[in-house]
Symmetry: C2
Subunit: 430 residues, 2 copies
């Protein structure tokens, strides 16, 4: 891929190189209806306009489906299946190649360029999918261990089931929002003194507002209720990935979550990055995940050894008092004990129906050192410590006005396959 | 209501008396497109046909919205809000009154009767809503206590949070199916000997397949993310109720559910009855719920004392070996510690957005005697006992071929406001 050159200007460090071609949903001031697009360099290619102007007429397998590019979400495009996603992605790479076999489509068509290429700065992004169900897994082994140490000590940090299955819970689909959406600090029941004999909660704004750095995966195939997806088929069910911030209120979580799990402590907002990087684009960056020292059951055993992605992840924080931005976490998404295909195989082993547009969260991704941890809970031992920011402030949990940005990319130099950013700012409680 | 007489024949013990007017989605062999209807006596009134033939032209507030009756779900009708639901229900009651002020609309219009009235036996029912999110609460105090006794003994049966808030978890919207849909016995990870030192699960079909007798409530108003719904406003958010069977695999649940709650043990299928009884129709049957001996926070305190419904509930079981049907549970929905308005107020206190069509489960409804318990887990102490069926068989948990029916009604004699039935049959694992 490193030799691919485009006739379009693509900055050297762009997350949206010709090797990427991520899909999203955009609108502009002039044309406010949300519609599909790809990101390339500093631009988006409006696929509705592109398709309407015969952009896909050279592609006989895709042309009959061109209406999917007039939809307000990617659900219909995703439902066409991975072989079609591959064809569309490769074709669009070809269209943008300096040496394109289809120059008349866009390279030598300035009228369509003007209509269909929109600077990223001038557009708005929207949720890429109508999300039927959102499941959040817990496959970041280091995170699960670190959080377990905080609450139960090192000897019982991991529950007995942890290495046998990808632990997960049903999340709240209605609370998933696109990057840039502000997050209101939630109120809820909080037990101020968990050690007290008599447990009497108060209603208050959370004092332990946290982030969780995760990957999100979108599903592109339905399985019928009662039918399972095998771990080897599961790849075909995987449309692509985004960055995901599973905002969490630790004090609300502590009081509400026994015995049925996290509920309101998670469902006040979950942010995702707007550009979905196709599973195809990530294939070259597959690596081996964390070693599982436990024998897993056959339905979770993958034929391939490289099963997770080598994505460099970072979290930065900007407070309301300065423009300075501190990096508060650097880690890598190889820190997962289970892959997305394993999560899909497990999710459906019971016959639970997945549907196109469903979202799976990976679980918080953490390394082993404090500054590689994807949550403040871990970095600060649930409120016992604090981290120093570059502007001289420090943080135990998030404060009002704080803006958190997740970013992630694969590759090096001028062939990045990146996710862009996932941004959210904390608004004070109402 | 007891004096209401219809020109249409309504059997004396019908769940769908003139005092009810529940809404659902139907199709027929001749007209396979799903569309809204009401149930009345042994018939459904096809609201699409009724509206298209000027059925609503006398109703100036409803006529501009008549397209909601051509939708394949009730979402658009529900979104019109409770004042409109009231108007439509009262109008339809009037249309069917013997002494109707609108005889020309249907009573003396045999052509439209022929077109719009369909015998219930001849139609198919569908999911009444597109369900964005499904939340299952746990507000059946006796159930929570009974289940707690089974797992932790009587002294720690209830968790410290139980009486302070309606405990709940996010469920799986994609797994909600309408009555009559078969349920495939799920496979999953099971720990055969939970007491063993070394915890090594197997993959197997559940051996502890159970029911949970619940009420389901549909939401008819969106709240914006970050905004709460007060407990007194919450009534306006409540469209209506159905019966709900939260099929549960107890052995899968036991192994998977710590620390993030039930997941695959619940999401292989959840059945609901097809006819949604409007909150308006249930108002006359409000009674006081179970006494809460704990002081609850102000945001959960209701102005009204009568806050739950007096619905007579029953569960019957038919096995594959005979036609005989055993009643395995009789109870009443007043056995709830929290009302639906309290659940809504709690669900949104964090700013979690509810949307039109969302479904809330009440939690399993149980009385205090074994035969009033809404799950086999309680009746048989998680597998230690068994119940005798009328055909001489007995059951600890469900077996393949078993058919479970929930039923429920309010009122007496000829003025029942009923839910009909919620039926599901167990298919063997694939
Ligand atoms: Ca998470
Ligand atoms: Ca339940
Ligand atoms: Mg979240
Ligand atoms: Mg269920
Ligand atoms: Ni959901």
């Amino acid at each position: 891929m490193s030799s691919l050159r485009s006739w379009l200007y693509i900055p050297k460090n762009s997350h949206f190189s010709l090797a990427n071609i991520p899909f999203g949903i955009i609108s502009t001031a002039e044309s406010t209806e949300p519609r599909p697009a790809i990101a390339i360099g500093d631009c988006a290619l409006d696929l509705k306009v592109f398709a309407a102007n015969n952009g896909f007429s050279a592609l006989s397998t895709v042309q009959p489906h061109h209406k999917v590019f007039s939809e307000p979400t990617l659900n219909a495009f995703a439902a066409l299946g991975r072989p079609i996603h591959s064809i569309v992605r490769k074709y669009l790479q070809n269209v943008f190649l300096d040496d394109t076999p289809f120059p008349e489509v866009l390279k030598t068509n300035p009228a369509l360029q003007k209509q269909a290429l929109v600077p990223l700065k001038e557009l708005q992004t929207h949720l890429p999918f109508t999300i039927g169900d959102y499941t959040d897994f817990y496959a970041g082994l280091n995170h699960a261990y670190n959080a377990g140490v905080v609450f139960r000590g090192p000897n019982n940090a991991l529950q007995p089931n942890y290495k046998h299955l990808p632990v997960g819970y049903h999340g709240r689909a209605s609370s998933v929002v696109v990057s840039g959406t502000d997050i209101r600090r939630p109120k809820g029941q909080i037990l101020e003194n968990p050690a007290a004999e008599k447990k009497v909660p108060i209603l208050a704004s959370t004092r332990k507002l946290d982030i969780e750095l995760e990957l999100g995966a979108f599903i592109c195939r339905n399985n019928a209720m009662g039918e399972s997806v095998s771990v080897d088929e599961a790849e075909q069910t995987l449309f692509g990935l985004v960055l995901l911030n599973d905002w969490s209120a630790r004090d609300i979580q502590g009081w509400e979550a026994v015995p049925l799990g996290p509920f309101l402590s998670k469902s006040f907002g979950t942010s995702i990055s707007p550009w979905v990087v196709l599973a195809d684009a990530l294939e070259p960056f597959l690596v081996k995940g964390l070693e599982n020292d436990t024998q897993i059951l056959p339905y979770l055993q993958e034929a391939r050894e490289k099963n997770v992605y080598n994505i460099n992840l970072a979290v930065t924080l900007k407070t309301s008092s300065s423009e300075s931005r501190s990096t508060i976490c650097k880690t890598n998404s190889r820190n997962l004990l289970f892959s997305f295909p394993q999560m899909i195989a497990h999710h459906t082993v019971s016959g639970c129906p997945l549907r196109v547009g469903d979202l799976l969260g990976s679980g918080t991704i953490s390394g082993t050192s404090p500054s590689s941890c994807g949550s403040l809970l871990e970095q600060n031992a649930n409120g016992k410590g604090s981290i120093a920011l570059s502007n001289g402030e420090n943080r135990t949990f998030l404060e009002d006005g704080d803006e958190v940005r997740l970013s992630g990319f694969c590759g090096e130099d001028d062939v990045l396959v990146g996710f862009g950013e996932c941004i959210g700012k904390i608004l004070p409680s109402l």
